[in-house]
Symmetry: none
Subunit: 543 residues, 2 copies
């Protein structure tokens, strides 16, 4: 294992590590409202590798041709910590493993690691699969053996293990034995329906650990609201691989939340499960994945949520100010999160001071400038702005408040027109922009797929005569989030734009109840960020 | 106890009930974004009483004069199942309990039950309270004894019990003994910082149960993501009162979620904790409380969330159709929830057949219509459509393919104009729509906050002359998701609109690389859905 580290003693005195197996891209994609593009998936792989999970289950190439395309793309990424895993099921009944099309696709994915799930529960074999108990054992054994024969390292997911064990313990054990005989490198016990209580999970895990000389894994779902606890107690019972999804995405109530489990293992149980020091990246990585999935990360999510260390009761705030352990079980920075006091002025100050230092290293901690910027940030946040994930706009805001900024152009007006139907099928929108630059006027027009694209074209044309650098700007991401969506089409929207000039990447934000205006504001910030950065570079080159 | 029922044997063979103690109105009000009016609180009391929790902790009259006002109001409500509890802290240091103003306010609340919290952790006594260990014991004993002397039944909340026990077990036990000597009717162990692991909670609870002849309660916070499991294991360790909040509201990561705990106790452990039969009210009560608190109940919340029984993987849908226990640990109607099938690329034919049956109950499983609709759905999904969460559009699609649909109007054109700056600051966008309805033409204009709002106004004006029913349509939600957002402003967008006419709620979807067109498509589907549904209602009324 690339990520092998020195072991640590867990509470039971066992010297071992735990491997994290992330299934955000596979089981997580079964969650309501989750739908990843190939680009999204590649971004998530990078984030998980940076955090350092041992395994990334990246898709099911047999059931989904789009996943096979993704496996081609992902080969181009150099991973530092993680191994990719392709997922599939045991061979179809009554055929040879080698002639099973899904298994062929699985091999085509070209991963060293493969995860195979099979039936453990007698009722599922006869009623759902409509096969025999004997044939199911052969399906498990054959499939694992075939893949091992093809040079793969195989983890075996025993679907419904705990229900199966309660129903027919002898048969459940036989299925595990079949996988072991086939050459499986780990036996993963799945609480597929999510209905087993944590102490039962621990007991049944202990039984399997005692029975087989093979590493045991755990895979829980949150239907009783206890997936994290069940995973933790399984580890106490001897499991050494924990499967789940980084933010708890998954079918129904979701899978076990790995961000919570990683923090508990590392900080509460002192069992290493990601490379040393990386647990401090947990919050930024979790938030980046939420951003890619375009979901709001729950404020109250343990360790990584915006409110995980937010204090509201006056008594708690007083006590935490005296001694943070008074109402905090771990220090927020241990997981890369921050302490906040709700409805108070202290929030965010230190981060703002840090940013000011970028432009003026000699600034003092008690500068009135910081208070002024805090006040402005709070005002904008109240309007729906969010500067996390919009560093470009935040930097412009700090510059403006420091007087280290001059506008590069003035908007006189913009006008957009959208029409349906139109004759020119390549474009549905037209924009006109009038700007003043260095005493001159530029009136330009653009067309595009939709009004924002058209505005982008028109503004670019107007600026490039004066600032050729804008030609290098490429917008690489565009996100829209409806705030207070209950106001329907009159609701405020927040637009985030990511841009690059090939060297640097920056993100900017705009908020308005008019989608076009919100996009315009983010667009303008993006262009201004590039222009001021270019000026500074030129200036430094002359020093 | 009014709600006393016959006991049941739990797994350890103990015959007993568990009392649910809800603190939504007190500890829950410490959650971010939670703020209850007196009316809200009265509504929540009614909902909790209907569900039948044993205790409702309704406020802290000592620290909050508004709470005292509420206690006056709540006296007018006749409760059938629940008892109100007023909350407060031990007396101030170095004074008589009888002269403590907060305790006086607590008595003024006039509840039979009172809950008092006190310090258990030596470090908190000396560092935060800045008192002595001896005086703290006197504060606990005096306070409980004073309130008992005034005729109250007192529950004692031992703040930070588990941290305290780890730090100084002898002193932690002494504080409980002081409460017992004062006459407390229950000793409640609080994991105030939420950092204790569930198996440790069970062990430490067992110790207290063995030491005192008084009922023991548990109060957990969710900082490790295991508050539910910790509460459940405490019950296994002998606790007979579980404190929490109905939806897990609370400071930081929230309190233990009682809706999850109640379902687990009743359905998984067969320990009665609310009146017989009431567990089927769990989902409606949980959703009503979310509505009163004005928060979106998390879709994935165990047992009561909208997705708690939602299946997306095709294989799961097929299996659940054969036998629901295949992927459900309890039947959804046991908790008053519903099974749903999410539409997705992976979802199978069977759910499309089910939808067709709504319009033609005699349809056969192998109808070519199903294959035709599956093909169309796949085509649209490839374009970026998603019918999960867009049931209205999906129903229209099925109708169109079945020939059970006629268009209500034809679009001749729409045109939108957006401008900045503009004179009229209330509106930034204008729309013009030309539609043909029943041989006539309607050209209408609208203005609004942004182009979609303007289009909505214009289309509505055009239609209402012909179909007055459109006046009832209110758009209640608007969501934008940028697909393949890496194409930046030229990317495809998916717009979801939720609408209601006061009776029914429906959701529709539109996809285009032009944001305006995507919104238009979803808007048109919303209006058409309403119109066809109205026609059918009228038609059925004549049958």
């Amino acid at each position: 294992m690339k990520d092998q580290k020195d072991g640590a003693q867990d509470k039971n005195g066992l010297l071992r590590n735990v491997h994290i197996f992330d299934s955000t891209l596979r089981d997580g994609a079964q969650g309501e409202g989750i739908s990843f593009s190939v680009q999204d998936k590649l971004h998530i792989v990078r984030a998980l590798d940076e955090l350092g999970v041992a395994f990334i289950e990246a898709g099911n190439p047999g059931s989904n041709p789009k996943d096979l395309e993704f496996f081609e793309e992902v080969k181009k990424i150099e991973l530092s910590n993680s191994h990719l895993v392709a997922f599939g099921s045991t061979r179809r009944k009554d055929i040879d493993a080698s002639s099973d099309q899904n298994l062929r696709s699985l091999l085509a994915a070209g991963t060293e690691y493969v995860c195979i799930f099979g039936k453990t529960w007698d009722f599922h074999v006869t009623e759902i699969l409509r096969s025999t108990l004997v044939e199911n054992l052969a399906m498990i054994r054959d499939t694992v053996a075939f893949l091992v024969g093809e040079g793969r390292t195989v983890f075996y997911d025993a679907e419904h293990y705990f229900d199966a064990f309660r129903s027919n313990p002898g048969y459940a054990m036989e299925t595990l034995r079949a996988a072991a005989e086939g050459g499986a490198s780990a036996l993963v016990l799945c609480d597929t329906n999510g209905g087993t209580l944590p102490d039962d999970i621990q007991l049944m895990t202990e039984k399997v650990v005692a029975e087989f000389g093979i590493p045991v894994g755990i895979h829980c779902h949150n239907d009783t609201g206890m997936a994290v606890a069940s995973s933790i107690l399984a580890v106490k019972g001897g499991a050494v691989q924990v499967q789940g999804t980084m933010l708890g995405f998954g079918e129904r109530t979701g899978n076990a939340n790995l961000s919570t489990i990683i923090a508990n293992l590392e900080l509460k149980m002192h069992i290493p499960c990601i490379p040393a020091g990386r647990v401090a990246d947990l919050t930024p990585v979790a938030r980046r994945i939420a951003e890619i999935a375009n979901i709001n990360l729950e404020g109250g999510m343990p360790f990584v949520g915006h409110n995980a260390f937010a204090h509201k009761a006056g008594m708690h705030i007083d006590a935490v100010t005296k001694n943070s352990t008074a109402y905090e079980h771990v220090p927020p920075d241990a997981v890369g999160n921050e302490r906040t006091f709700l409805m108070s002025e202290v929030a965010g100050r230190s981060m703002i001071i840090e940013k000011i230092r970028k432009f003026d290293p000699n600034i003092k901690k008690d500068t009135p400038l910081a208070a002024q910027i805090v006040a402005r940030v709070k005002e904008l946040e109240h309007e729906g702005y969010q500067f996390e994930g919009a560093e470009g706009s935040f930097e412009l805001l700090v510059r403006k408040n420091m007087g280290k900024y001059k506008p590069f152009f003035d908007l006189h007006y913009y006008k957009i027109i959208g029409e349906q139907p139109i004759d020119d099928v390549t474009c549905t929108a037209f924009a006109q922009v009038k700007i003043g630059v260095e005493g001159e006027m530029a009136i330009t027009a653009g067309e595009g797929d939709g009004p924002v694209h058209a505005l982008d074209c028109a503004l670019r044309k107007g600026l490039e005569r004066f600032y050729p650098g804008v030609r290098q700007i490429r917008l690489t991401d565009f996100k829209v989030r409806v705030l207070d969506s209950r106001s329907a089409t009159a609701a405020k929207v927040r637009v985030l734009i990511e841009s690059t000039d090939g060297e640097e990447v920056w993100t900017t934000v705009g908020v308005s109840s008019d989608l076009i205006e919100a996009s315009w504001l983010a667009l303008v910030d993006s262009f201004e960020y590039k222009l001021i950065t270019d000026v500074e570079k030129r200036f430094r080159a002359y020093l």
